[in-house]
């Protein structure tokens, strides 16, 4: 009996369900923001904040990252459930539980940092102080990412590299098409925040698919 590399392994049902739930959450949030929210806080309350479509996209991605991290944290309370999630034969060891929680914490932290600029704008915090805090948290996030990279084996490193590569090619393709249309005065210019929100959303989507194909989700 031999194992062979699947050419096009099917995505796990739970991942498809998660994508579906994300789409529903986004639609519900959009409808809520368009119809109910203006009635609650007043139709002009958000006018001065200069909110864009990329804020909604970044908020959805940031919240999805935090929900994903929370789900892993909850699952990790039961070593048998965690083992089932990773398709392992026996319950997860305390070390494996610890690693899963650390990875989930870094994931959730990524979502939190992504939300911060919008939270600061909504809270009316001063630019310089807010930026200083973001730089500090970004540095901490980078240290945690490096620590995670050094602590994992070649499977997770390969998965990360594949997700980054696919995100780059998809992202640069989209960016080129938009840039060309912008140069031809067919589309409005993008901000750095627009580009970053799309990049992070793409990365979340691609890394979920790549991880699932490697049996990691």
């Amino acid at each position: 009996m031999t194992a062979s590399s699947p050419k096009n392994p099917r995505l796990p049902r739970r991942l498809l369900v998660a994508f579906g739930m994300g789409a529903v959450m986004g639609a519900v949030g959009y409808v809520f923001g368009r119809t109910i929210l203006p009635q609650l806080i007043g139709p002009d309350a958000l006018d001065g904040l200069n909110l864009r479509w990329s804020d909604a996209l970044a908020a959805l991605t940031g919240i999805a990252l935090m929900i994903g991290a929370g789900a892993v944290m909850v699952i990790s309370l039961d070593p048998r459930r965690l083992a089932r999630m990773y398709h392992l034969e026996e319950p997860a060891s305390p070390e494996e539980v610890g690693q899963a929680r650390f990875q989930a914490a870094v994931l959730g932290f990524s979502g939190f940092i992504l939300l911060l600029p919008m939270v600061f704008v909504l809270a009316g915090l001063a630019g310089g102080m807010a930026m200083g805090l973001i730089i500090l948290l970004f540095a901490l996030h980078t240290v945690l990412n490096i620590r995670m990279w050094r602590g994992v084996d070649e499977l997770l490193r390969r998965t990360t590299l594949e997700a980054a590569t696919a995100t780059f090619f998809l992202g640069q393709g989209l960016l080129f098409l938009w840039a060309a249309a912008e140069r031809l005065s067919l589309l409005p210019p993008l901000t750095a925040w627009d580009v970053y929100a799309v990049l992070m959303t793409l990365y979340l989507f691609v890394s979920a698919v790549v991880s699932a194909r490697r049996g990691l989700a």
Partner: protein
Amino acid sequence: MNNRLKVLRAERDWSQAHLAELLGVSRQTVNALETGRYDPSLPLAFKIARVFEQPIESIFSEEESNG
């Protein structure tokens, strides 16, 4: 790429955890290798061959092409 990792491990009555420890990788990696979801790097393939005391080509083989 095809591999006989699961058979070789079963023959020795090793757990995934034991094999993972011998190879210095996670159980997730052993599982991904056994289910064909991941092809190992060359250093890991050599390590697997050493652990099972078999040549690499008796553990891993190329997939037969349909054309």
